[in-house]
C-alpha cells in the first residue's frame, strides 16, 4: 500500500500520474523543462514513450497538449502555476472553447515556492481558470488529496486545472473520506455559530482555528472544498443556513478566487454575513511557506479572530 502521507505534494502528483498511466493508455504527460521540479519524471520513467518535454515554453505546452487531445489523447501538462497562467489565452482559445480533455497542473502554487519569491508564487491562478466556462478547478489540500484529485480528474469530460504545491503540506485528508468526488465538499468539523470554508492548504489552519474558537465558546464548522468549480452549492447553502456566518480561507488573492465563488453564489441565493481571507498583495522570498503564512496573516489565530468578528456581526 502506497503511503501517501510520507510523500510531498509534488511526489504524490508524479506517483498519481505514473499509476494513471498504467490504467489508461491514452494518458500523456507534457512538461516545460519541469520534468524534475514537478516530479513528472516519475511518469516518464515508467512511460517514456508518452512523455514530452517542450522546453521552457508554456504557450506551446498548452497548445501542443490541446493538439494531442484532438488526436484522442488525455494530456496532463505540468509546470509551475505561476507560469501556466502565461498560457491563459491558449487555455481559453485552444482548450476551453473546444472543451478538450486537457489537464493543466500548476505546481509550486501559492507560497509553496517561498524560496524563489513573488515571481514564482501564483496567487491568481484559481481566478484565471475559474472564469473559463468549461474548466473544472481542483485545489487539493495535501499529498493524499493531490493523489486522489489527479486520479479523479481522469474521469472529467472537459478541461481541468489542478493546483498543486511543492513539498510543504500538513497531512489532513488521508482519513477524512474514502473517495474523492469532483464537485463535492467534505465536512471536517460540525459547528453552529460560524462556517469556515477552505480550499487547498488552508484546511489544517482552519481546523486549528476551530479548536481555538471552541475554547472561546464558539462552535465553528469546517468544510473543505477541494473542488472550487463546479462548487458544491448544496453544501455552501446548508452551512450558510445553519450558521448565518461564512468565512472563506484561501492561499490566493481575495479577488476572484474561492471566496469570490462562494460570495457570488450566496449573494444571489442566501445573502449571508461573509468574510474572505486570502492575499491582497504579492509574496516575498522566504525560507519556508510557513514563514509567509505568518507574514501575510494566514494563521489559525487570525482565522479564529475573523470568525469571531463575523459571529458578532451576525
Amino acid at each position: 500500500m502506497l503511503d501517501l502521507e510520507s510523500l510531498t505534494p509534488r511526489e504524490a502528483l508524479g506517483r498519481a500520474l505514473s499509476d494513471l498511466g498504467d490504467l489508461r493508455k491514452d494518458v500523456v504527460v507534457l512538461v516545460a523543462d519541469t520534468g524534475e521540479t514537478t516530479r513528472a519524471r516519475l511518469f516518464a520513467e515508467r512511460h517514456p514513450e508518452r512523455f514530452f518535454n517542450v522546453g521552457i515554453a508554456e504557450q506551446s505546452l498548452v497548445g501542443i497538449a490541446a493538439g494531442l487531445a484532438l488526436a484522442g489523447f488525455m494530456p496532463y501538462a505540468l509546470t509551475f502555476a505561476a507560469f501556466m497562467t502565461r498560457a491563459w489565452e491558449q487555455s481559453r482559445n485552444s482548450v476551453d472553447r473546444l472543451g478538450l480533455p486537457v489537464r493543466l497542473v500548476g505546481t509550486h502554487a501559492g507560497f509553496a515556492d517561498a524560496y524563489d519569491g513573488p515571481s514564482h508564487q501564483a496567487l491568481e491562478d484559481i481566478a484565471l481558470f475559474r472564469v473559463l466556462p468549461n474548466f473544472t478547478v481542483l485545489v487539493p489540500a495535501d499529498s493524499c488529496e493531490v493523489y486522489r484529485a489527479v486520479t479523479a480528474s481522469a474521469s472529467v469530460k472537459g478541461p481541468v486545472y489542478i493546483r498543486v504545491g511543492r513539498d510543504f503540506h500538513i497531512p489532513t485528508t488521508c482519513g477524512l473520506y474514502d473517495r474523492f468526488e469532483v464537485g463535492r465538499a467534505y465536512v471536517v468539523l460540525e459547528g453552529s455559530d460560524v462556517a469556515i470554508f477552505t480550499t487547498g492548504i488552508t484546511l489544517p489552519l482552519a481546523v486549528e482555528a476551530a479548536q481555538v474558537l471552541r475554547d472561546r465558546g464558539i462552535s465553528a464548522a469546517v468544510v473543505h472544498f477541494p473542488t472550487v468549480k463546479p462548487l458544491d452549492y448544496a453544501t455552501v447553502e446548508k452551512y450558510a443556513a445553519a450558521t448565518g456566518a461564512v468565512l472563506t480561507v484561501e492561499e490566493h488573492m481575495v479577488h476572484g478566487g474561492f471566496g469570490s465563488a462562494v460570495a457570488e453564489y450566496l449573494a444571489q441565493t442566501r445573502p449571508t454575513k461573509m468574510a474572505i481571507m486570502g492575499l491582497k498583495s504579492y509574496g516575498r522570498t522566504a525560507k519556508s511557506p510557513q514563514e509567509l503564512y505568518q507574514l501575510f496573516g494566514l494563521t489559525p489565530e487570525n482565522i479564529a479572530a475573523r470568525a469571531e468578528e463575523l459571529v458578532k456581526l451576525r
Binding site: 514513450e49 515554453a57 504557450q59 506551446s60 501542443i64 493538439g67 484522442g72
Partner: protein
Amino acid sequence: MERGVLGLDELICKARRYVVLMAGYDPGIHLGSSLSVLEIVAALYGTGRLKFNVANGAHNRNYFVLSKGHAIHAVYALAAAMGYLTVDELRETGSVGSRLQNHPEVDTPFVDVPNSGSLGQGISLAVGLALGLRLRGEPGRVYLVTGDGELDEGQSWESFAVAAHYGLNNLVTIVDLNNVQLDGHSEEVLRKGDLAGRFKSLGFEVFEVDGHDVAAIISALEKAENSAKPAVVIAKTVRGRGVPSIEDTAKQRLSRDEALSHVNNIC
C-alpha cells in the same frame, strides 16, 4: 498531373470569384489574405490530399490546420467551387446563424482545428496533432497553413522547435508569405529576417515556391511529403491577388458594388 492542374486552374478561378462575392455580402471578411492563400488551399483539397467530405473525428486520414484562420473564406470558396457548399450559403457568411463564421469555429465545416483565430495557436495544435498521430501509429499527415505575419508570435517558433526536435515528418507546413499584415508590409511592421534560414537552423527542410503557381506548390508538397525531416513550403504570394485595387496592400475591404462588379472580371 498536368490534367489535374488544368482542372485546378478552373476551380481556382471560380473560387477566387466566390471569395470576392463573399466580400460583397460581408465586408468583414479578410479578403486580401483569403485571395493570397487560394492556390495553396487548392493544392491541398484539389489533389485529394484533404477532403471536404470527411467526417470530423474520422481516423486514418490527413488533417488540415489553417492557423491563419482569418483566411477561412478561401476554404469556403473552394468548397463551393467543388460542389460542397452552395452559393446561397456563401452569401450568408458572417451571419450569426451561419456555420460559415469569419474564423473557424466549433461548428465550422471542413476544419479539423476549429479555433485558429488567435494567431500562432494553430501551429502548436498542429504540432500536437502530428505528435499524437505518430504516437497512435496513424499514417495521416497534418497540413498546416500559416501566414508570415503570424510568425511574429513567439509561440510559433516554440512549437516549430518541438516539431523539429521530435522529427515530425508527418507535419507539412506551408507559409503563405504574402508580405502584408494588419499595419502594413510585414518587413516594415517587424523584420522577419531570413525566414528560410530560421526554419533550416531548427532542422526543417525548406522549399521555396511561387505561391500562385499551383503546379509548383504541388511539386513542393510532393518533396515535402517525402522528406525525412519536418518540411516547410514557403509560398511567396500577393495579398489580394486578383483584385488590382487591393493587391499587395493591407486593404481588406471593397464596397459592395465594387466587389460584386469584380466578381465577373476575375480570370
